[in-house]
Every structure is written in C-alpha cells, then in structure tokens.
Symmetry: C2
C-alpha cells in the first residue's frame, strides 16, 4: 500500500509524503566525509570571511553558474569529459574576485597532508583540486582591501571539523547581505527513506540582490520549505513591524552597491556521476528561485556546486513493474534533485534567520522581531567547525 | 521622491512597487507584432494540439532548455554567433518528438507568404526559421498515433491572429496534464512604467510532472504571482475539498507514464540582443520553479524561449548618478527578466485554472471547486486566435 502511494506520488510529482527527517546536525556535516571550516574577521575594517568544505574521500563535484556576475576558480575542470574526476575541497568566500586567493591557502594545507590529484610516485606529489566561488562584500566592514586571503583559506581548512556548522554571520556569510537585510551562512540536511540511509544536505552563503522575504507581508519566501519545528515560533510579522518596515522604504538612505551573489553547495551520500552531480546543482538553483526574488540577476553570480561522496543507493520511488526500471531509476534521481532544491531553500531561510545586525545592516530578526524568537534553533553548536 | 524609492527598491531587489498593470488582452498578443494560432483536436483518439506564435517583423529569440527530456527543433540555430538572427515563428506542440513535424507546416505557410530568411533575389527565396518545442501527450486521447502533424501547423499559422488567446484545453495544452490535474495553455502580460510603454508577456503549455499546487493546502504555487483581481474569487480550498483530495491519494489507480514537459515563451517589446533574450529565457525558468514542484526533472523537457521584437527602451530603474550608467542599465534588464519570470508563473497558474476535466483527467477547478469560480476570468475571447 505504501509503495503504491509512493508510486502515485511519483507520477503526480508530489514527493512530500516520502519519509524524510532532518539529520542529527541539520548540516552538511551530516554527510560522512564532509568537514567544514570557517574563517571570519570583523575588526580593523574587515567584515568578511570564508567557508571551506573538505571532502575525505574526494568527491564527484559538478557546478551550475546561473548568475550574470560570477567569480569562480577551477570550475572549468568540473566539466564532464575532463581529466579531473575528484574534488578535494570547495571554497565559498567573500572578497569578490580577490577572494579567489583563499583556494590557494586551502591547496597549501591539503598539499601538506598529501591530499589531491596524484601526479607522481611520492606521497606529496599531489595537486589538490579546490574549486571556489566568491561573493561581493567589499567595503562592508569599512576597508576596501580587507579581504580573505590565502592564509584565511589555510586556517579554515586546518580547522575544518565534522561537527555542527555555525550559521549567520560566519565564514563567507560574515559580511553578506540579502536584499534589505543581513545575509549569512545557512545549512540544512535531510535523511530519506525508511531506514534514513540517504542523506542530502546543503550549505549556502546568502548575499542576494533579491529579497528573501515578501515585502508586502514580511514572510520569508523560504519559510514553506522548512520542516515542522525546524525554526520554532517562526510566524508572520505583526502589523506594527510590517508598518515600520514599509514606512522605512520612504526614508532617505544611500543606494547600496548593486553587487551581490549567492553561492552554495548541495551534497549527497548517494553515488552519482559527474553528469548527475551537475544536474543536481542545476536543479538546486530552483531552491534559490523559490527562496529569493529576484534571483539570478545580472548583479548576482549565483553559483551552486553539487557533490557526491559515499556509495548509498538511490531511494526507490515507484514500482519497477509499473513504470519500468529506467523510469524508476530516473524517478529516484528526480526525487533526490528536488530534495536538493528544497534543502537549498531551507538553508537560505536559515541563513537569513540566523544572521545578526551589524555595521548598520539590520537583520531579519531585528526588522521583524515579532516573526521569530532570538534563538529559536540550535544553530551554533560550538563544534570544531568554527 | 518616487525615483529615489525605485532606486532603493532596485538596491534591495524589491521590484514589486514599480508601476505595472495587466495588458488589455492579458496575453502574448499584447506585444505588437505577435499573433497566435492554435490547432486542437479532441475526437477519434486525439487529445492533443499545437500553439503557433508568429512574429511580424521577425523576432530575436533565445532559448533555455532546462529539463532532462526535451524535444526541440532549430534551437541550435538560436545560439549567439550563428548565422540566423531573426525568427519568424515558434511552435509549442503536443505529440512528443513526432510533433516536431508541425514546424514544417508552419514553414510551408510562411514560405507561401514570402516570409523568412532571405537566401536569394526572388520574393519567395526564403527559408522561414521556426524553432519548436514539444510536450509528451501521446495516447491521452486513446490513440498513440493521433498527433499534430504538418497540416496542423499550417492550419494554426494560417489562422493566427492578434486577438485574445484561448487558455486551458487548447492548442498545445489540449492533452496536457500538470501533476495530478489537467494542464493546459496559459498566457499573461504586463505593461510597465509610468506610460506603460514596456510590455512583457508569456505563453506556456503546462504539462508538468510536478504539481502546480501544494498537496497539503491545495493552493496553487503560482497564485501569489497573480495580480489583484486577475482571477476573481480565487481562494483556499475548503476543508471538505481538501479532505476528499487527500483521501483520493489512497485509492487504487493506474500509474501514469512519467513523461511530461512544460514549454513556453516570454516576449517583450524591449529591444534586446540575442544574448539578452537568452538570459531572459533562462531567468524565466525561475517562474516555472516557483509555480511547479518539482520542476526541471529528468522527465520534463522544460524549455522556454525568450523573444524580443519592437524597439521600446528599457525601463529606468535607479538613478544613474547614484549607481552609474552601466549598473542602471543592468538594473533595468534584471527588472525586465524578473518580470518575465513572474509572467511565466502567472501563465502557469492561469493554464491550470482555465483547464477543464476531460478523458478522465480531473481539472483543478473540479478537484477544488471551492477554490475558484467556474468562469472567473475573461479567458476565452472568441478572437481569431482559436
């Protein structure tokens, strides 16, 4: 009976009834082999940082660049048919194109560990493959040249851990903004199936030109994607909060630079090939589209990586007898990809909910205090991933 | 003051306050030079059709193919850098890949009219450029071989008119389904600016594997994109309707083939180049993402064309003095693209709202009669565009 119901849901495209639950950390570190390190700096003109995701073993990684103003490194190497088949780490960082140097620091750390693409007989004859994507946060802390550099990447990779991942004003989200409010880093995970053996997780640094909330109601666009109880007491803003927000639109204030970008990654323990991780990244962009409006603009470099490590099998969706083996396999993949999109939407909402006001940039929580409690979620766990 | 507010909205990515209103026909035919003809057949094993969009003068057309199972014709010719720079007509059609023959009939009609890419001195020395995208509706009327062919394309092109465009079970939407309900054709338009001189419009044939409504609440995902009063009395389904729908999920019913695809076009009278129409098509896919879940699956060939004809100038967004001329231009483009995405979302919602139950496929209106009135909108105008 349950199987038949799933079959029908697959046919109808209604996946939500499939058994799914948040992972224990509700973070990308719920995928075995994924560790995260974050470097953040908030003094001396800095308001920026970097988030480094390390894979052990190395992961199959695809990428989808949708925005009109991206800044990336090593993404050409991720195209199907190229030499490199595994990625050792990913960098999400502030600092605009200057921030691409962060990847060099991560490479240095990995080289010391002997991790990377083997190019010779020696244990250190390696070239670590470290793609990177940047967001624009120059001058948000006051200093135009206060940016993450190679030493920031080295530190983040060295400190990477498998514990909780701090959200909000951390790492690449330290200086991020999202439309009219503070942006940040967000992460989420989901475990799928009767035995919860399939994990899909995402991390994003939300620095969007578009707004994460409906300007008419104040509600987060990504709120519907959250699981029940994921962010307790989240609700609609009060009329007073809404009126104050709408009035604020008429005040004089300087125009902010139209330079943005949301960057992130969706990762799974399902064994996927490069074409599949690329497709997963592409469909994950739909998660941005649902959580941010407008999105993928010429001012955004919106870039999503898709990563696979582990050897879990695809969830079974539909009965093979009724739709054929090939379709059943593709149905499982489509389900997985859609979960990725939803997890991205959740991570965006969580990033904005976790962000805190700083440097004159108001947070969503401070803009609409009636909509959410201050610490509604176990978002900072004090794990090694600082 | 108003200009400053717009500037702030541009910076915040909050465009909705920009003056905008529905076009007089609320259809793609609100763009001067666009005509539409639809061929539909519902007897003798047929439940399929074709929608042909003609451009006079020929249009600059880009395309974005996002689904995993597309069926297209002449889309390679639309890549920037190629010989062809103008498109004479577009075909959206049922019949899966067989339906690509429809374009041949459109070409024959245009050749007779002497319209096309000029290849010689004679008035009929032309090759009409007619890209096409198909959706999967084979056997929905009972006959596997009952498909639109070249004669259908000829008839639709011959009958094309500049009046209202029928929505629902018409043209390429005749046999379409959308998740668990009947799909169809939808169209919408918006006029922008103080003098409403910029027009953005869309037409879609919704045949999605994903659902157009939230299975938990019954509300259309695309409902929020509609303008106030666009579909009168549209609201939340009653508890009774919802309970009946949720119960129906447990009934035995045969699995439907997992073959789908939503196809459409966004068109504007703003003068755009090929790279810009391609970008407009790409961002329009976000409109599908917001109105359908899941979307862009391996079973969908989701394809959107972006077309420009006319010489309207970009809307002015932001003050040049505060963000620079280049940024002001890109802000206008981004605004235009986002309007395209919203217009696609509206067209999807309208397609599903206009569709009628047939051949055992329940319409949204019949599934949730409490959510909408039977003829809430002037969706069939009896114009020449049958």
């Amino acid at each position: 009976m349950i199987e038949h119901r799933l079959d029908r849901m697959a046919a109808a495209g209604v996946w939500d009834g499939f058994p799914q639950q948040m992972g224990p950390l509700n973070a990308v570190t719920d995928v075995d082999g994924v560790s995260v390190g974050q470097w953040s700096r908030r003094d001396a003109g800095y308001l920026t940082g970097a988030t480094v995701i390390c894979f052990d073993p190395a992961a199959v990684v695809g990428v989808d660049v949708r925005g009109g103003g991206s800044g990336t490194r090593e993404t050409d190497a991720l195209r199907p048919g190229n030499l490199v088949e595994r990625v050792d780490a990913l960098v999400l960082t502030g600092g605009s194109a200057y921030g691409l140097d962060v990847a060099g620091g991560v490479m240095r750390f990995l080289e010391e560990q002997g991790k990377g693409f083997q190019v010779g007989p020696g244990p250190r004859d390696v070239v670590p493959i470290v793609p990177a994507a940047v967001l624009y946060d120059l001058s948000r802390g006051g200093g135009f040249s206060a940016r993450p550099d190679a030493s920031a990447g080295y530190a983040a990779a060295r400190d990477a851990g498998v514990g909780p991942v701090r959200e909000g004003n951390e790492g690449a989200g330290t200086g991020a903004t999202s439309g009219p409010v503070k942006g940040g880093v967000g992460t989420a995970s989901v475990m799928v199936g009767e035995d919860a053996n399939v994990v899909v997780a995402a991390v994003v640094a939300v620095n969007s030109g578009g707004s994460p909330f409906d300007p008419m109601t104040g509600r987060l666009y990504g709120e519907d994607a959250l699981y029940p109880g994921e962010w307790p007491q989240l609700g609609a803003p009060s009329g007073d909060d809404l009126a104050r927000w709408q009035l604020s639109g008429m005040e004089e204030e300087p125009a902010r630079p139209l330079r943005n970008t949301t960057i992130g990654m969706v990762v799974t323990n399902v064994k996927l090939d490069l074409a599949q991780t690329t497709r997963m990244a592409s469909i994950a962009q739909d998660g941005l589209a649902r959580a941010i409006r407008p999105v993928h603009t010429l001012f955004d470099g919106d870039t999503i990586f898709g990563a696979s490590l582990g050897d879990a099998q695809l969830p079974t969706v539909g009965t093979v007898s009724s739709i054929g083996a090939a379709s059943a396999g593709a149905a499982g993949l489509s389900f997985l990809y859609e979960l990725g999109a939803r997890t991205i939407s959740r991570a965006v909402a969580r990033a904005v909910l976790a962000a805190e006001s700083t440097h004159g940039i108001c947070s969503y929580r401070d803009l609409f205090p009636s909509a959410c409690v201050a610490d509604g979620s176990p978002r900072s766990g004090g794990g090694r991933g600082v």
